[in-house]
């Protein structure tokens, strides 16, 4: 029996719907290399001027860069500003 997540993925694939509508995953919007909007985050693990580590449904998202700051933070959305160099998912 397929688990619930696989089923949602299949339905989203069948009806050609965006995956974030049905599945519980984070949505990242990167505007140039200066602003990153993360929707559906789970909180903050680490916050330094050169590194921001976030909890997301997929695990952890590490944003590396320089002079990083959080422009706004709310329960469902977080915006990181600064000179973003890389992003990395990890468990």
């Amino acid at each position: 029996m397929p688990n619930k997540r696989d089923l949602r993925d299949k339905v989203a694939s069948l009806f050609e719907l965006p995956a974030d509508v049905l599945t519980n995953c984070s949505r990242l919007t990167l505007i140039g290399a200066g602003e990153l909007v993360i929707e559906n985050h789970r909180g903050l693990h680490e916050y330094e001027t050169d590194k921001v580590v976030l909890a997301v449904p997929e695990g952890r998202l590490t944003v590396l860069g320089r002079e990083l700051s959080i422009r706004s933070i709310s329960p469902d959305q977080l915006t990181v500003q600064g000179s973003i160099r890389s992003m990395e998912y990890s468990d």
Partner: protein, 424 residues
């Protein structure tokens, strides 16, 4: 922009969070549904912005993360209000300013009249009719009904064919089109000069038109003195002033107005009965002084009673004000009113005094009647015609030299066509 405006209205704080775990502080704030923005991190502390409402829910969050929160700056309308509450005069001034601007822009301060047409219509007459309809200097704009005033101007002024009233801010513009007299082809209007009182012609200087009287003629009121005419007709253009350039061809359709200086000797005779027992006012010696500060039409009593407690009194007025400068005059002045109580007495006056009163009344009448170029020719004669115990009847006679002509509209003239043009 809208978000900034909302934040300004709600008010927000810039806070500094130090000590403990900053990340835990942020996560706990998220759990409490608190919104933070402009979060800046330094190795030791964090700075963020938060609304006033959320700030009061921050205490358990800070305690849970073992952080210390310090307010750096306050922004927004609620904090301005706190500052303003300590300065009521400033708020009153701002409110008064707004109220004054509203009041000033709700009134009509300029009324302009634009007359189009032959310009026989005086713009002041249009303004007066508009004022009757409520459109005047200082009128509330909401009380001014342009449609009503347009109708009123058309109804009251027969010379107006069309009128429109426009309100442009604090300015009202009244545009009026004057009716034009449509004459038959080849006709011009005519205004003659007639005598307005009887007399003997002493001097006649015609400027325009044909004199019908000469020096020494006796005229009565209404007699024709100068008739408008094409006296010197030269090739289709009327000559109005001999020796001056001929008018334009279009002026043949104008009205010819006779113009002349006509002076005549006029005899004025008057009979008056002057009572010999007259009521005279005798001062009692009691006086009352009042000091009044006058500001335009408003008066403020500074000293004395509002009204003198005398039944009859004579009042003299002295005014003190700031010196005027060019066409500026100070609107405030101090007025000192001196009231002197009088009582009335019946007094028998001699006939000579009554005669003198009759003369002075006639002199006043003549002075009022004469124009600036008129003059008295002979000394006034006064003779007693009748005398009783009660009154004296006096006939006064004086001869003057007066301008006696007045214009009177005559029949239109037919312009001579080319066929009737006389050879010079």
């Amino acid at each position: 922009m809208l978000r900034r405006l909302v934040l300004f209205l709600l008010g927000y704080l810039r806070i500094e969070v130090s000590g403990g775990r900053i990340e835990q502080f942020l996560n706990l704030a998220l759990e409490q549904n608190l919104t933070l923005w402009h979060i800046q991190r330094t190795p030791d502390l964090m700075r963020a912005s938060i609304t006033i409402r959320d700030f009061f829910a921050l205490r358990p969050v800070a305690r849970g993360a073992r952080c210390r929160v310090r307010v750096l700056t306050r922004h927004g309308f609620p904090f301005h209000m706190v500052r303003l509450r300590r300065r009521p005069a400033l708020i009153l001034g701002a409110v008064a300013c707004v109220a004054f601007i509203y009041w000033a822009t709700s009134h009509i301060w300029f009324v302009n009249v634009k007359v189009t047409g032959p310009e026989n219509l005086d713009w002041r007459a249009v303004k007066a009719v508009a004022a009757e309809g409520g459109l005047r200097w200082g009128a509330w704009k909401r009380d001014v009904d342009p449609g009503k005033i347009e109708t009123l101007i058309r109804e009251r002024m027969g010379e107006v064919s069309w009128a429109i009233v426009r309100l442009q801010g604090t300015r009202a513009v009244i545009e009026v089109v004057e009716k034009q007299v449509v004459r038959k082809q080849g006709e011009v209007g005519c205004v003659n000069l007639v005598a307005r009182k009887p007399g003997v012609i002493e001097e006649i200087i015609p400027f325009q038109g044909e004199p019908k009287v000469k020096k020494g003629d006796i005229v009565k009121a209404g007699d024709l003195l100068v008739e408008c005419s094409f006296k010197y007709w030269q090739g289709g253009r009327p000559s109005v002033y001999p020796g001056t350039p001929l008018p334009e061809r279009e002026s043949t359709a104008r009205t010819l107005v006779a113009q002349a200086i006509i002076k005549a000797r006029v005899t004025h005779t008057n009979y008056r009965e002057i009572p010999l027992i007259q009521t005279v006012e005798v001062p009692t010696g009691r006086t009352n002084e009042r000091w009044v500060l006058q500001w335009k039409d408003q008066t403020i009593l500074l000293r004395g009673k509002k009204e003198p407690a005398f039944e009859r009194y004579q009042e003299s007025r002295r005014t003190y004000g700031l010196p005027a400068w060019r066409n500026w005059k100070a609107p405030v002045e101090l007025v000192i009113l001196d009231a002197r109580e009088v009582r009335t007495e019946q007094e028998q006056i001699p006939a000579a005094q009554a005669l003198q009163q009759a003369r002075s009344r006639m002199e006043d009448q003549i002075r009022w009647m004469l124009g600036p170029s008129d003059k008295v020719l002979t000394p006034m004669s006064a003779e007693v015609v009748e005398q009783t115990k009660e009154f004296i009847g006096v006939r006064t006679t004086v001869e003057t030299l007066e301008e006696i002509a007045q214009p009177k509209v005559g029949q239109p003239l037919a312009t001579p066509g080319p066929q009737t043009q006389p050879q010079p």
